[in-house]
Point group: C2
Chain length 103, copies 2
Amino acid sequence: MIHVTVLYPNDSGAMFDMNYYTSKHLPMVRAKCGPACRSTMAELGVAGGEPGSKAPYIAIGRLVFDSLEAFQKSFGPHAREILADVPNYTNTRPVVQIGEVKS
Amino acid sequence: MIHVTVLYPNDSGAMFDMNYYTSKHLPMVRAKCGPACRSTMAELGVAGGEPGSKAPYIAIGRLVFDSLEAFQKSFGPHAREILADVPNYTNTRPVVQIGEVKS
């Protein structure tokens, strides 16, 4: 299983519209990718690890696929359109991590 | 639901022993936190978002709790012992994010 984790840095002035993200963006990603996208998840940054510290990421999104190939085949053809939607919910520049689930 | 996401930066020279992490560290965390820790997950960084780029994090771990309070109450008393185990599987300095699951 592959996680595509999208991390939105919590820089000064960072904005993130979680309502748009969960009600418009993620459903659009699922619709474009079809059943290859097994699930999606969104979380809002609350805190960092040190007491009183702010979350390093204002939000994190995750897309789950069976394999890297399944991600590339289903997401790739729509990448441009999906990425064009990002400025509609955030002014941050996301960091993307592709990872293989081990447990 | 709360995710405690632990991100291990993929710096030059970074090492991460996934076998130790999944067979020793995470079971120890679950044992210390008890049922308050709903689940754990580990993933190995495979790639970044740009073609040919390396994963920003060599590994990501995640602990799931019902609430921030449940995390603090169950993890807090064992934090020192849990953190003392980190050098047994990595030479990196992890970034910790606490987030609230929204969807």
